[in-house]
């Protein structure tokens, strides 16, 4: 019953297997999801260097990551509005 769609999905796979570090990942449509991990990494490294005590690190890094994502979203909305208006 499920064999036909399964075989069809296998047939649509590329003949060559994915080779890590040599071939790119098929993430064309998910590129926006890759932004939050980047913001988290920036916040984590910055706060790790900046803070004297690492006790506050998770909270401070999370706060900074949220701020980065929020300001990026605000900038995106602002730029989108500019393109829509002008």
């Amino acid at each position: 019953m499920f064999a036909a769609p399964l075989l069809a999905s296998f047939a649509s796979l590329p003949t060559l297997g994915y080779r890590p570090f040599l071939d790119p990942l098929p993430l064309e449509t998910y590129w926006l999801l890759l932004m939050p991990p980047m913001a988290i990494a920036i916040a984590l490294v910055y706060k790790t260097i900046k803070l004297d005590s690492l006790e506050q690190l998770p909270r401070q890094a999370a706060l900074l990551a949220v701020q980065i994502v929020a300001f990026m979203a605000m900038a995106a909305v602002g730029l989108w509005l500019i393109t829509e208006i002008f």
Binding site: L16, R19, P20, F21, L22, D23, P24, L25, P26, L27, E28, W31, L34, P37, M38, A41, I42, L44, V45, Y46, T48, I49, D52, S53, L54, E55, L57
Partner: protein, 183 residues
């Protein structure tokens, strides 16, 4: 009041900076900040590997995007990956190997952008770590080091804390265990 303190033990740590260039966080570990170094190393390494996986080896192409490569090269393995791409994999633009399989598949569009961005960001964050470790005073800012404020720390410290004429700097460094948490 800080001008009276002699800059005795704070030196330029080029060895730690060089170690950080090769492997993020190792320089901080040299200075005794293992936890800080581990967090830095893991974060930057994961970011770099993620970019490498997302875009493939073609994200390290100094002929394709030289300015981004300048950012990437602040993490030394990026230069190794670029050399592998230029000398081994890139026999020609898109030339296949004798086996018929392409040596690598170049990435395009958003995937390439994200891969380049991740690896370039890893390089820039590693530059931050290098700049931090190259002139980091191991006694002034640390409060997570178990030796700070203990007899081991005071014994290792030269006359800087003892000769502190002002009470604030002397007590600030001397009571590092208690004051360090506040600072």
């Amino acid at each position: 009041m800080t001008s009276s303190e002699p800059p005795s033990e704070q030196a330029w740590r080029f060895d730690a900076a060089l170690a950080t260039w090769f492997m993020p966080g190792v320089g901080h570990m040299f200075l005794g900040e293992s936890r800080r170094g581990a967090i830095l190393g893991l974060t930057i390494l994961i970011l770099w590997i993620a970019g490498f996986l997302i875009g493939g080896v073609s994200v390290f192409d100094r002929t394709d995007h030289p300015l981004m490569f300048v950012c990437q090269v602040f993490f030394a393995p990026s230069a190794v990956a670029d050399q592998a791409l230029q000398r081994i994999l890139k026999t020609g633009p898109g030339d296949p190997l004798p086996s018929g399989h392409p040596a690598y598949e170049p990435s395009f569009g958003r995937v390439n952008e994200q891969g380049v961005l991740y690896t370039a960001l890893a390089g820039m964050l590693n530059l931050l770590a290098i700049l931090d470790v190259i002139h980091r005073d191991p006694h002034r800012r640390r409060s997570d080091n178990p030796n700070v404020g203990t007899t081991l720390d005071l014994a290792a410290r030269p006359a800087a804390s003892g000769s502190g004429t002002d009470g604030s700097s002397g007590s600030g460094s001397g009571s590092g265990g208690g004051g360090g948490g506040v600072a």
